[in-house]
Every structure is written in structure tokens, then in C-alpha cells.
Amino acid sequence: MSSIGLAHPASRTDRTAAVAAILRAALILVVCFVLLFPVYWMVLNAIQPSEYSLSWPPSLLPRGFEWSNFRHLFEDKPIVDWLLKSTFVAAIVVAATLIVVVPAAYALSRLRWRGQNLLGLFLLFTQIMPGAMIVAPELTLFRTFGWTDNLTALAFLHAAFVVPLCTWILKSSFDAVPRELVEAALVDGCSHTAALWRIMLPLTRPGLVAVSVVAFFSSWNEYLFSSALITQSDLYTGSLGLATLITQLDTPLFVLMAAGVMFSVLPVAFYLAIQRHILRGLTAGAVKG
């Protein structure tokens, strides 16, 4: 634009640029409004009195607030219990994932060994495979060991599903540590374990945080396997509890929406904080070590 602009009087270019900027800003606002509308709608209907939500035509703007909606949610539904169960499962998932992923990512990033490509291929495949393909054999496995209605066993399954992605994320953050640092330590007689513990881990804290967050919320959000493997309602996690609210016809709408908001706050906050790290890991799913 600048090369063409030189031929015109400055004021006119300025005006065109200003109009373009305004149009652009308007477009961005409209796009944001449309794309964020469902989020807005969930929050709005969680905090306004139900008689406003359940009226036709619906009003797009809030007509009043009713914060007691959340009190009703906490009094009428065991949401705290569900969220605690989710937290319990997700915490085990994080621990199990870190224990598995840290040494594996080191082996993939820093060592050459036979079968490395094969393992990479397997991890990639399990990441790509839809979970529904193995939900029935998984139930058979859990029944064989008597693990149905066992939140710890569910947590290990969740970990197994998130480990492939977390391995890539951590491997790419290990790859970024200068080779010489580790090699120097090894030459000085340091063992691989010590090199991993004293050099790699302190230098890759952001990667470890990203892996923990991804592992935590992949479990927190999971529904398919939880619903197949947990049947007792007193063991319900957040996603199971929420899903049963849909089918309970007596659940007031604002309770449903308020529960949705409560369940979404944590993942949204954490994902926003670490989105750049996850992004790199998701696209860099390496095939070769």
C-alpha cells in the first residue's frame, strides 16, 4: 500500500487507512462475538434467573443477575464431590504420566537404540487411534482384573492415553537443551540418571509444567472411558456427573449452566496460560527419535 500511497495526497491515504482500520476492528468484534457466543451464553444463563432464560424470544443481553444460582448448585447437586473426584483422578494421572514420560523422553531425545522408531510409530498410532475403537476390550480388561468402579485404575488408563502426546511435548523440550551440557556431564563421569535429574529437569521446567497441565486436563475432560468403566454414582467425576444432569429432567437450567461454568473455569485458565507449549508439542509429534 505504501508504494501506491505516495502518489496520492497524504490526507486521502490516511482516511482510507483509517476506514480500513475501523472496518477491520468491526470485523474482529463481529467474529469474536459470533465465535464466543456459546461461552457467553453458558455464563449468561448460569448467572441470570431462569425465568429470563426460559422465555421466548430469548434476550441476548442480561436482564438481571441471580448469584444464588450457584448456591443452589452447591446445595442441590454433589458438584463439590464430583470436582474432588475429578481432581483425585487427574492428580494420579499427572504423577503416573511424569514418572513414565520423563525417562522415556530422555531416552528418545538423547540416546540411540534399536526399536526407537518402532516405539515412536506406536506412540503416534495410539495418539491417532479413536478411543472408541478399544472401549469394549478395555471394559473386558477392567472386568478381568476387577477394576471397574475403581478411580485409580481409571486414572492409569487416562495416563496411558495422554502419555504419547506428553512424550512428544517433553522430548521437544529436552531436544532444546544444548547437547554439550549433557555430554560434558557424561564425560565427567555423570550417569544418565544424574544427567537427567541434575541438568535436564531443572532446564526444562516449562515443559514439565506443560506436560502436567495437559495430563491433568485430558483426564479432567475425559468422558467416554469414564462412562464405560464407572457405574456407581457415588464415584462420579465431574464429566460423568455433568452428563447425568443432562438426562435428569428435573435439573433446573441455571443449575446445569452453572455446573458447566464451574467445570470449565480451571481448564480454561490453565490452557490459556500454557497454550504456546501445547501447540508446539501437538504439531511436532516426532516420528523419529
Binding site: 525417562p103 510409530l121 467445570f263
Partner: protein, 298 residues
Amino acid sequence: MSAVAATPRSRHRLGDGVAYWLILPLLALEGLFLAYPILSGIASSFVNPDSGGYDFSNFSTMLADPDFWAIMIRTLVFVLLVDVAVLLTGLGVALLMNRQFRGRGVVRGLLTIPWAVPEVPVAITFIFMIDPTFGVFNLLARMLPGVTENPQWTLDPTLAMAIVVTVTVWKGFPFYSLVLLAALQAVPEELYEAARLDGASAWRQFRHVTLPGIRPSIALLAVLAFIYSMQQFTLIWLITGGGPVDATLTLAPAIYMQAFRFYNFEYAAAMAVVGLLFSVLATLAFISVQRRLALDER
């Protein structure tokens, strides 16, 4: 992104033994919870539900079943619609964000929210939005000429499919726009300057500079969108349950239904084998696209 590039050989090849100890926990976990179920699922797809012996009866029943082919076609339609729509939405948003403006970081963060909201609350919200009595989607539908009544969103096959596609795209687009935004920002500014000097219009710049620059990323994302939509279960299951009359029953919910509603475990296993074959193809496609991406960067 050049993740495929091989790691230079470490001089410390005492590696081998150590490496196997290091991956042992991973092998144990993945072996028990993923590899074993995959293999036992494949094995049970060959079990004849009547005789208990091994044969191809589940596969011959499946291939002769018109419902199975209807599921495959529906899955294909769903996957293609989601793939195209999520790439177009992602690209549109990325292009919009690919210029400096005040509040860009905030907008970028806000537009990531749909990706972060868990699927169950997303389903709950959309179920309310398409409620035939109070749903806000009815306002939109009524703007169309000739629509005077609120549509029955989940009772009409076409509308139900449109809804599950829309929800799946909405939940997924932020990831695609973030990756495309990164790709857009990697297109060298000099190319645009050269095009401008040649008097290229905005459209021609987009067509001849932008698009070729981000083509490898689009290819990778197209494969990822295929994978993402094949995996989709929760949103479809909670919003339409695969209905009305199977109109939104893609492969993933169909397998779940066969196994847990009709208790045809072996038949479900045979369908899952088809899904696993598609996953193998997707894995190969992903690898080949990524290789090309790595070569381009060199």
C-alpha cells in the same frame, strides 16, 4: 516443527541398555492399557458369536450389512464437512489476527477458549441453544425466509448433522487458527514487498504468496482434522445420541452402541478393526506430510 529430523548420533553409546530401562515404565503402562486391548479387540473380531470358534463371520456379516455402509458414508460426510469447515474457519481467524492491532493478545486468548472448554459443558450449552422452545439458535433460523416456526433441531436428519458438525468445528477451530497464524507469520515479508512492487492486488498476494507459503501447514492440519473428527464421540453422543434414526451415527458412536446397547461385542470389534485400519492410514499420511514439511524447512 522439524521434529522428523534425526537426532545426531550420541557418542555415548553405552546407551542401549540404559535406554530400555528408561522406557520400561512407558512400555508397561502402554502395553497393558493400550497395546493389549488393541490386540485383544482385534482377536475378538474373529470370534464367531454363535460357535465361539475363530472365523470371518463378523466381517462377512458386517460387509453385507447396509447399516454398516451407511455408517461409513455418514462418517465420511461428517469428516469431510468438519475438515473443510474447521480449516476455513481456522484460516479466516488466522488471517484476521495476522496484523498488528491493539488488544491482539487479548483477542487471541479469548478465541482460544472454545478449545479449552471441556466437551461435556460444550454439549450442555449447545443442547440448550438448540432447544426447540427456548433455544437461541431458533432466532437465527427464523431470520431465514420461509421459516416461521422453531425447527426441531435434533429430529431433522440434516439439521442434526449440521449441528454436530458445527459444534465439532467450534470446539476445534482455535487450534487450527493458532497453527495457521504461526505459519502465516513465517511467510517472509520480502515476498509480499516484491509482489507489491509488481503491482499485485491483495487477492493475488494471497493467492500467490500467502497460500503457497502455508500450504505444508494446511496439509498437516487437514490430516489432523481428519483424525480429530474420526475421534469425535462425546459431542455427538451427548447432543444427538447418534440420532435421529442414526442420522449422526458415525463410526465411533456406532461402535459404542453395538458394544454397550446391543451387547454385540464381536461385531463391535469387527467395526473397530475398520477404524484401526483408518488410523493406520492416517498415521502414514501424517508421517508423509510431516516429512515433506521438514524437507521444506531445510
